[in-house]
């Protein structure tokens, strides 16, 4: 586990931890806590994981609990953590995720639980082109029976993964490859073995009065960057980190919109039938609608398969300037 120690101030210890290591710590702690938990996936064992998220776990827990599988094998029973090298590959197993995992509890009238976590990198990376860059948040969040979680920073990664592993339901846990190597501060509380974040609750990363920004995963960072730029112009953005896509913390969004009167959603995925589209629908159906001073704006990926060439790829995903532009248009400034 790689982290840099900050300085000791009274009893407060501030550590930096990369998202990859937070995920590793979460799995390590849960493997230790519950014998029924095990990890399977492509190259998770001897190779230490394609993105090194499972580094060291095979050495510690052995063949029984950390299992290398050929690409599309998924087993139910016990409490498996199933790693997809990327969620693009989950499409090969998607029938199992939806028809076997998501629907089973319902079909059996509560008799058969499916306590499984599907995790792996989701969304765009850098230069991996069309078949390896899709965001699957909307696809999975569409299905009743699944929980869908999308962490942003290391604290999210650890707390939500532990929650997902302890949850008795199938959880789709969407990580982001470009975030794995990013370090974040971890509070002492976050470093404890019992640090669990509730699924279904969003977090206000930055309070503000003028506009609500709602986002998930890597785009949360972009929103905070945009907010920092706009603060200099006197525009105060409230940035909400969804953390969960399904169930979604609609109450948090509504409370914020009722305060700011303006809403901009930001996501990496495609616009049609996406996360932002769902938020728009929910806002219209609830009390916050009457507080809106302008229609909701969705900032999304461009509605095309992901191109390879760098200049095209850069222009296919929301950039900070797109977020700033959209906020100003929404505020009519």
């Amino acid at each position: 586990m790689s982290f840099l120690r900050g300085s000791f101030i009274d009893a407060l210890v501030v550590l930096q931890m990369m998202v990859r290591d937070a995920l590793n710590q979460a799995m390590d702690e849960e493997l230790e806590r519950d014998e029924r938990v095990f990890l399977l996936g492509e190259e998770v064992a001897q190779y230490d994981g394609a993105y090194k998220v499972s580094r060291g776990l095979w050495k510690k827990y052995g063949d029984q609990r950390i299992i290398d599988t050929p690409i599309s094998e998924v087993r139910a029973g016990l409490r498996p953590i199933c790693e997809f090298m990327t969620f693009n590959f989950s499409m090969q197993a998607i029938d199992q995720v939806i028809n076997s995992a998501a629907k089973t509890c319902y079909m059996s009238a509560g008799f058969q639980a499916v306590p499984i976590v599907f995790r792996g990198p989701n969304g765009s990376s850098a230069g991996v082109a069309a078949q390896h860059s899709q965001c699957f948040a909307a696809w999975y969040a569409h299905c009743p029976g699944l929980k869908v979680v999308s962490p942003w920073n290391s604290e999210d990664a650890k707390g939500l993964l532990k929650a997902a592993i302890r949850d008795d339901n199938p959880v789709v846990f969407m990580e982001n490859e470009l975030m794995y190597g990013v370090p974040f501060e971890m509070s002492e509380e976050a470093l404890s073995k019992d640090f669990v974040l509730p699924i279904g609750k969003a977090k206000i990363e930055r309070p503000g009065n003028h506009v609500t920004l709602v986002s998930h995963s890597r785009c949360v960072g972009h929103c905070l960057d945009a907010a920092a730029v706009l603060a200099k112009e006197g525009i105060e953005c409230e940035v909400i980190n969804l953390r969960s896509i399904r169930p979604m913390d609609t109450d948090a969004i509504e409370a914020s919109v009722m305060k700011t009167n303006h809403l901009v959603t930001v996501e990496g995925g495609w616009p049609q039938f996406g996360v932002g589209a769902e938020i728009c629908a929910k806002i219209m159906e609830g009390p916050a609608f009457n507080y809106l001073d302008a229609p909701v704006t969705r900032v999304t990926g461009v509605d095309i398969p992901m191109p390879y060439a760098k200049i095209l790829e850069d222009n296919s995903v929301p950039q900070i300037k797109d977020i700033i532009f959209s906020i100003k248009k929404t505020l009519n400034v």
């Binding site: 190779y47 690409i71 461009v302 390879y308 222009n315 296919s316 797109d322």
Partner: protein, 360 residues
């Protein structure tokens, strides 16, 4: 310039090659094959071109001029070249992501392959596809998802049968994908390029049965020495005849080896030893094997082969120069080619005010 004249060289020679293991077949490919001087020189040139092109790609990737995924083919040249030697350009071929060699043998040029790798407008897919998504006529990529190309290949073969055009489809997959391949009844060749490792997982760990040529169950199979171009060519000839005469598909397992790791982000030495890689290079390199055969049978001179090397190197350098100086695609291209042969369509950009245009 060689002092010897054309008349000094042996125009053709007969070679003894390894016998193929067979499964559900009464006959097997010939073990005595004829290679002409002209064929030998051509195969040498193409294999050397693939080799040099892949090594240049390695270099450009390390310089970060190539991004994303890059799966190199060096070591496996005998497969692509041997297969193409026994099929026609009017036949069809589909493979997975280790596809640069096939893009070349199927009619692509080094220049447009390299420019695709560097994401430029002169790339074979205009910079929009990248390493894993290159196409030519009757070559269907270049597919990123392991095993996904096999049902596609089956579909192409079905189309050939349906149209009665006597064309074949060659459908390649790796040992890593072999656990996903389903058997289908139609007229085409399945070819398993068994390079012993599915990313970091050796075949012994990945599959209960590593006799990939037997795993078609009802489909006859051949196991072929994939490092020997003449073996691959002969086995492909045999399999193509078998298919075209209406006897159905054949599953060929080509035993081959990749010198590089799975991709450029895999050093390739955590699951196999450097000694193993070195041993294959020194004992079984496909280009060396062909070269030794030609030289020891007086089919070419060493100077002549060196000249080919020089020409190949120049071609690669010129292509790399083009690939690094050609401009990136223009932003107007961003949304084009979503649909084929369709009316122009408006495409949503990153925000509701960004209205972009897509033409077919």
């Amino acid at each position: 310039m060689s002092a010897r004249t054309y008349a000094d060289f042996t125009p053709e020679a007969t070679f003894e090659i390894k016998k193929c293991d067979t499964f559900k077949l009464d006959e097997a490919p010939a073990t005595q094959v004829v290679l002409t001087r002209d064929e030998g020189l051509e195969y040498y040139r193409i294999m050397q071109t693939i080799r040099r092109m892949e090594l240049k790609a390695d270099q450009l990737y390390k310089q970060k001029i190539i991004r994303g995924f890059c799966h190199l083919y060096d070591g496996q040249e005998a497969c692509a070249v041997g297969i193409e030697a026994s099929i026609n350009l009017s036949d069809h071929l589909i493979t997975a992501y280790r596809a640069h060699g096939y893009t070349l043998t199927r009619g692509g040029t080094v220049k447009e392959i390299m420019a695709e790798l560097t994401g430029r407008r002169g790339g074979i897919a205009k910079g929009k596809g990248g390493s894993m998504h290159m196409y030519t006529k009757h070559f269907y990529g270049g597919n990123g998802i392991v095993g996904a190309q096999v049902p596609l290949g089956a579909g192409v073969a079905l189309a050939c049968k349906y149209q009665g055009n006597n064309q074949l489809c060659v459908c390649l997959y790796g040992d890593g994908a072999a656990n996903q391949v389903c058997s289908l009844e139609t007229s085409f060749n399945f070819i398993c390029e068994n390079n012993r490792y599915g990313m970091g997982t050796s075949v012994e760990r990945a599959a209960a049965s590593t006799d990939y040529f037997r795993r078609g169950e009802f489909i006859p199979g051949l196991r072929v020495d994939g490092m020997d171009l003449l073996c691959v060519r002969e086995a492909t000839r045999f399999a193509a005849d078998h298919c075209r005469s209406g006897k159905g598909p054949i599953l060929m397992e080509l035993q081959t080896y990749r010198y590089h790791g799975h991709s450029m982000s895999d050093p390739g030495v955590s699951y196999r030893t450097r000694e193993e890689i070195q041993e294959v290079r020194s004992k079984s390199d496909p280009i060396s094997m062909l070269k030794d055969r030609m030289l020891s049978n007086n089919m070419a001179s060493i100077e002549e082969l060196k000249e080919i090397d020089v020409e190949v190197r120049k071609e690669i350098e010129d292509a790399a120069l083009f690939a690094t100086t050609d401009p990136e695609p223009p932003l107007e291209e961003l949304c084009n080619h979503i649909y084929y042969n369709d009316a122009a369509v408006e495409v949503r950009g990153t925000n509701p005010w960004a209205k972009l245009k897509s033409v077919s």
